[in-house]
């Protein structure tokens, strides 16, 4: 059964693996940086789905969470990969969410603060290559709101990240409204990343070939998360809220039809949403490009519109996702390609979409 700790370890492992593919262990200036242009115009490629980790051993030493203190952000090595992929800017986030299990407010605050401060240091070092998405302790919704505000105002964070549930509880429950209200009020993009649907799936269900805990579990958790935000009325209570679901929003946008008719067809649906589910997909919900095929992307565009799709690579994991999927898409015009690769996220993360002037510089 994949759980959050396994996921976390896998991030560290994959990160280590990814460095090997770079030229040497240190950033190599011999590497050429891919410069992405559309219609002859250089654009700034921005990646919303970029996992990292910050070592915080001094914070968790002597607690039950000591094992989570390690990790290596590996950002200098990552620059090599970004250069190769043509990614100009990554929105970094820490997605293990193991800290939702901390019951001590002080410790939870210290962990998230240390992560946000660590990320801010990297952003300061490479301001044109990274922005940070804040870690927050959602088991304390009021504290999560406070830390989000602190991360944005004091540390310059651009948005925040969360998992699909908090210790099994749906984020659509009203207890989490202080957090949603803060994110909506401040206009902070929320990037949601799943951890194998362990909130809804029986322990033995994914013991199967094909790595189904990832292949099905991850899109499933995102589907359930977004679906509950819709049907429980969270998007109605917070109309300025913007939530981005990893892995193309899971199954929801690709198979939205059954969800879209649920409130009319199912007499037990008990829906609290004011609009049709698809309307939230076309306004408040964002999704990344982790769909891998031209036909899959074409379908996403048809269902949610170009303005809701943002570029995401799942770095440092080795999924076959490249800028070329977007650049070569015959159904997109140049303006739409730029929206997906750059300008949608530039607006949401409050960064400029102007491309960097020099070449190969960091």
């Amino acid at each position: 059964m994949p759980n959050r700790r396994d996921f976390f370890r896998t991030v560290a492992g994959a990160a280590a693996g990814a460095y090997v593919i770079g030229r040497g262990s240190a950033p190599s200036h011999a590497q050429t940086r891919r410069q992405v242009s559309i219609g002859g115009k250089r654009i700034r490629v921005i990646d919303v789905h970029a996992h990292t980790n910050i070592p915080i051993m001094e914070v968790v030493k002597g607690t039950a969470f000591e094992k989570q203190g390690g990790g290596n952000p590996g950002l200098e090595q990552r620059l090599v990969a970004m250069d190769k992929q043509g990614v100009d800017l990554q929105a970094l986030s820490i997605n293990g969410f193991w800290w939702y299990g901390i019951q001590d407010r002080g410790l939870a605050r210290a962990v998230c603060n240390a992560q946000n401060e660590g990320l801010a240091q990297w952003v300061k070092k490479y301001p044109d290559r990274f922005v940070a998405m804040a870690s927050v302790p959602l088991q304390f919704p009021d504290l999560a709101a406070e830390i989000l505000q602190d991360a944005v105002t004091r540390l310059g964070a651009r948005g925040t990240t969360l998992g699909g549930h908090v210790n099994g509880e749906s984020l659509s429950l009203e207890k989490f409204d202080p957090f949603w209200a803060k994110a909506a009020e401040m206009g902070e993009l929320v990037f949601m990343h799943p951890g194998g649907a362990d909130n809804i799936i029986r322990e033995e269900a994914w013991k199967a070939r094909g790595d189904l805990g990832n292949i099905i579990g991850n899109p499933l958790e995102t589907t359930y998360f977004l679906t509950r935000l819709i049907f429980d009325g969270v998007f109605d209570r917070h109309p300025r809220l913007r939530v981005c679901g990893a892995h193309a929003g899971g199954y929801l946008p690709s198979y939205v039809m059954r969800t879209d008719v649920a409130c009319e067809v199912r007499n037990n649906a008990n829906c609290a949403n004011k609009k049709r589910p698809k309307e939230y997909l076309r306004s408040q919900i964002l999704i990344d490009t982790m769909i891998f095929s031209e036909e899959g992307l074409r379908h996403l565009v048809a269902e949610v519109g170009v303005g809701q799709i943002v570029y995401g690579t799942d770095n440092p994991f080795n999924w076959p996702v490249t800028v070329d999927l977007v650049l070569n898409a015959p159904f997109l015009n140049n303006g739409e390609k730029e929206q997906i690769l750059s300008s949608n996220l530039a607006r949401l993360l409050r960064v400029t979409s102007s491309a960097p002037a020099g070449t190969g510089s960091r």
């Binding site: 269900a205 589907t223 049907f231 379908h299």
Partner: protein, 349 residues
């Protein structure tokens, strides 16, 4: 947590509502569907019947509540109204998989198959039966499939997404798959809320998620396991139709397609997942929208999509969304509405 009995009750309720809303059904005119001026035969693969089981079979067993069920008398007028020429009818609750009494399981399935055969005799050009089999006894299931086809004229067989929690991709079920493949019988799979996968209560909450998410999820895992565990490789002539557009699998195929290139995947399959989607897997038309259907056809090919209505439930699926489809040719529309199923269910044109 929904269980199979709750699903059954919901079927009965929906059926009652549908019939009450109709006009006097005897006066109904039959809709005749044509494409390009030519009459086509519309065939529906997804046509439920919650068939009541007689006391003589289940009295004194734990299945007494299934003596109640839905009437089938209104079905022909419903088909007339919807422009469906032939319904491939199946009983889909699979509650009879919960007994370890072979004799009882056999008696229940025999009754289903005989009753469907009697409706087929009464309306040979309107109703055909998909066999019920006792999959908890794979050898008996194989035997009863053969009997249903040869003795009762069944044109395929129906299964759920799991047998008491076990994946149908386990080798113990191979005798059943071997028989279905050898006889060329279409297998229509219908899910029941992913009880095999979900923690109890996991999909409670607004939106009817046990159905809205649970059903496509169960089908997705069912088909994914048949692919990744090699069932389709072991039985290359096997054809399996997944209800509700095949669940999430065809609509969100990209992640599955790249799975075997990832660590920890333990794949044994011989082809890419998409190749099974384009040959051995079929999906029904329960996707409701023009773009949803366009995407299914793009991923699977028009030859793999078959018409299904989910009668007697009130889902918004009817012949018009296929007939009016802008991206499909007349030939593709005819394939989807009837041509593919005529071949699979051995129906003479």
């Amino acid at each position: 947590m929904r269980n199979r009995r709750q699903f059954l009750k919901t079927v009965a309720g929906a059926a009652a509502g549908l019939y009450a809303a109709g006009r006097p059904l005897g006066a109904q005119t039959r809709r005749q569907v044509t494409i390009g001026g030519r009459r086509v035969r519309v065939i529906d693969v997804h046509n439920h019947w919650d068939m009541p089981i007689p006391a003589s079979i289940v009295k004194g067993t734990k299945f007494e509540e299934y003596m109640k069920g839905a009437s089938f008398d209104d079905r022909i007028p419903t088909l007339d109204k919807m422009g469906i020429d032939i319904a491939a009818v199946s009983v889909n609750d699979f509650w009879w998989w919960e007994t370890d009494d072979r004799g009882l399981a056999r008696a229940i399935c025999s009754y289903h198959n005989e009753t469907l055969a009697s409706w087929n005799r009464k309306h040979p050009d309107r109703i055909i039966g998909m066999a019920s089999v006792p999959l908890q006894f794979p050898d008996l299931a194989a035997q009863m499939l053969e009997e249903a086809v040869t003795k009762h004229g069944a044109r395929g067989v129906t299964v759920g997404g799991h047998v008491n929690g076990e994946s149908l991709s386990l080798p113990k079920f191979d005798p059943f798959w071997a028989k279905a493949a050898e006889m060329g019988q279409l297998v229509f799979m219908h899910p029941n809320g992913s009880q095999n996968l979900l923690k109890p209560g996991a999909l409670s909450g607004r939106g009817g998620l046990g159905n809205i998410v649970g059903n496509p999820l169960e089908t997705t895992v069912f088909l994914s396991r048949l692919i990744f565990d090699g069932t389709f490789d072991r039985f290359p002539t096997l054809k399996v139709c997944g209800a509700h557009g095949g669940g999430y699998l065809p609509s969100y195929l990209g992640r599955t397609e790249v799975a075997c290139g990832r660590p920890n995947q333990n794949c044994i399959i011989k082809k890419k997942p998409s190749e099974y989607m384009r040959t051995q897997i079929l999906a029904d038309t329960m996707v409701f929208t023009e773009d949803g259907l366009r995407h299914l056809v793009a991923e699977m090919g028009a030859g793999q999509i078959v018409f299904g209505t989910d009668i007697p439930f009130g889902w918004p699926v009817h012949v018009d969304y296929i007939l009016d489809h802008k991206a499909l040719s007349d030939a593709e529309k005819e394939q989807i509405l009837g041509g593919n199923l005529m071949k699979l269910l051995r129906i003479a044109s």
